[in-house]
């Protein structure tokens, strides 16, 4: 299949050989599981259990609230110890409501929803509903509720389901392993999702540095004419939704629109596997494959970990640290975020846990910009990072927005390529956050204004009513006097 060349991009050292050939291992059940109520984009789920409750594996312990939200389930059977606030797996480590479960060691599934016998005869809504019930989010790391994306078929005409097996982040091999070891599950999940979306065509795109995955998926998909498996060139950020869509269709997604606007929905391969499990067996998403890697890890591994296992549990399973890590990262090294500590749990979006040495992070002080233009040349979004960063530095956020900072996907290629080590992507992340914060303040001001106006209108109305009621009384008093 012909692919289209994506603008810009970089070729970092991939270092996938640390874990690429290691089969997925199951994490022994840890002593405690910490399941946060917010592991997804959208509203946090509402907790349904309290301390002392017995829960079965797969039981709903938090119910979704609102349209963009998902259920969360008990990852194993056991007893709820408490519902409390613990540091979130987030750079700040801010407290987050979390259900703590003490596993009973049985690890048996509770009562699950019945499998959908023939998913291709079921209505798209029924599939999306099952995916929503099963707590499935985008597992590439974005954690957007998968059911919401499956419902896009209602509003948009979807031609293509694009299954993202690019895995362009260095170090990470979890998607590669899932494609190799659960090939049939991935392919079946993709077919179910395409049915839910009403998409006639499925394209499975895999970077050509994963020949075994390509081979296995191609063999498994051979029976289905609607599936095309295509290698895409190795280039970061090929796995970005918009860039992969361009590579496959040659069409650019308009700014601040969805890929669905051009008839494409992108899902990760691990999401497809989760959909297969939910639809065929009624099993909710209670575990995920995590790549634990980096040169500070004694034995890097791909681990299937229950949601809620702590990072320290996984590191212990990997034999601990071979040397003290300089930085702990969750996700990939390019777009991942620093971990606040080792006590935070693995959540639905945790694709990797990296313990990096000083040599690997290559932290250097930044020098003045020499205006070499490298960042402009490699920007996969066609932006001018040097110009945007200059405006942000001088607090000219409007100027940065005009130059398109909101279209930046934060891939970090510009920071990577900068010979002066200017933290360009940090400027953009700050600017995007600050612009959103300002929008929230504006909204609040607008609300205050409305409330104050309503308050004044009410006072005036009351005053008018009082005046009106006083007049008839006065008139009545006058008549009384006259009568007397």
């Amino acid at each position: 299949m012909k692919t289209f060349p994506v603008r810009g991009g970089i070729h970092p050292e991939y270092r996938k050989e640390l874990t690429g050939e290691l089969a997925i291992e199951r994490l022994p059940l840890p002593e405690r599981l910490y399941i946060p109520l917010q592991q997804h984009i959208g509203a946090p789920a509402e907790v349904l259990v309290q301390a002392g409750d017995l829960v079965a594996k797969g039981q709903v312990i938090a119910r979704r609230q609102g349209n963009i939200s998902v259920h969360h389930h008990a990852s194993t059977s056991g007893q709820v110890v408490e519902v409390t606030e613990i540091p979130a797996p987030h750079p700040t480590g801010l407290p987050q409501a979390t259900v703590v479960i003490a596993p009973d060691g049985q690890d048996v599934w509770g009562v699950l929803p019945a499998p959908i016998a023939d998913p291709f005869a079921a209505s798209p809504q029924a599939i999306a509903e099952r995916v929503a019930e099963s707590g499935i989010v985008g597992m590439g790391g974005a954690t957007f509720p998968a059911a919401v994306k499956l419902n896009l078929g209602i509003q948009y005409r979807i031609e293509t389901l694009l299954l993202n097996g690019a895995e362009c982040e260095p170090y990470l091999t979890c998607d590669d392993r899932v494609m190799r070891e659960y090939t049939d599950e991935v392919v079946d999940g993709a077919r179910i999702m395409a049915h839910a979306l009403g998409a006639a065509r499925i394209v499975i795109a895999i970077e050509d540095n994963k020949p075994q995955a390509l081979e296995k998926i191609t063999a498994a998909a051979a029976a289905f004419p609607e599936i095309t498996v295509t290698p895409v060139p190795v280039k970061y950020p090929m796995g970005s939704e918009r860039h992969l869509t361009f590579a496959i269709t040659g069409r650019e997604t308009p700014a601040r629109k969805l890929t669905a606007d051009i008839g494409v929905v992108v899902h990760n391969v691990a999401t497809a596997r989760a959909v297969h499990q939910a639809v065929r067996f009624g099993r909710p998403l209670v575990s995920r494959v995590v790549t634990v890697s980096g040169q500070a890890i004694a034995q890097p591994k791909n681990i299937e970990a229950p949601i809620g296992a702590r990072v320290s549990d996984l590191i212990e399973f990997c034999g601990g640290f071979s040397q003290p890590p300089e930085r702990m990262v969750q996700g990939g090294p390019m777009m991942g975020s620093p971990l606040p500590g080792l006590d935070v749990p693995v959540v639905k979006g945790t694709s990797g846990i990296l313990a990096l040495t000083a040599l690997e992070i290559n932290d250097r002080p930044s020098d003045p910009c020499i205006r070499c233009g490298s960042c402009v040349a490699i920007c996969a979004c066609g932006l001018t990072p040097v110009e945007i960063a200059a405006r942000i530095r001088h607090d000219d956020l409007d100027g940065a927005v005009k130059l398109g900072v909101m279209d930046c996907v934060s891939c970090g290629s510009c920071s990577w390529v900068c010979p002066s080590h200017i933290p360009l992507v940090h400027y953009f992340n700050y600017a995007k956050g600050a612009v959103n914060a300002k929008a929230r303040v504006d909204q609040k001001t607008e609300r205050t204004k409305t409330l104050a106006e309503a308050h004044n209108a009410r006072l005036e109305r009351l005053a008018a009513q009082r005046a009106a009621s006083r007049k008839p009384k006065a008139a009545a008093a006058a008549t009384d006097e006259a009568g007397a």
């Binding site: 700040t92 200059a390 400027y427 104050a452 308050h455």
Partner: protein
Amino acid sequence: MYMLTAIGSLTAMGLALGGVLGVAARLLAVEEDPLELELQGLLPGSQCGQCGYVGCSQYAGALARGEAPVTLCTPGGKAVAEQLAKRLGVSVDLSDHVAPVPTYAFINEDLCVGCTRCIKECSVDGIIGANKQMHTVMADNCHGCGKCVEVCPTNAIKMVKIPKTLATWHWPKPQSETLH
């Protein structure tokens, strides 16, 4: 004849008095500054008085006359200060402008005696409660003016910082030692 005199005298009086009124309207007109109105539109309009003026229109007036700095509006914060500066064409260095930490009022319900004074004071109807009933603040409506704190007879109200949450947090601006 009498009729004509009556009509004539009344017409004359009407014209004369009308003339006086017309002249008075011209001479004694209160000038409404269009700039002032426009500035007032930019302000939150909650009449909280935190700027030190009685209300938003008074602050807008002072701004229009160039007597007040643009940074006084606490509920409006940096965003409103920027808009005011832009409209007035003044440059203002907001980089050191320490935005006051956003707060909301919190009623200690054990101390509340249900006097409704705070409710009467609140310009955004942010407090619910009734006579001799416990009151509480709807934090989403509160814009942190703190007027209720002053009127509470039992000191039951205090201003609380709005906590930073995962939903509102964003990366800080990178600290760079060198100029790029």
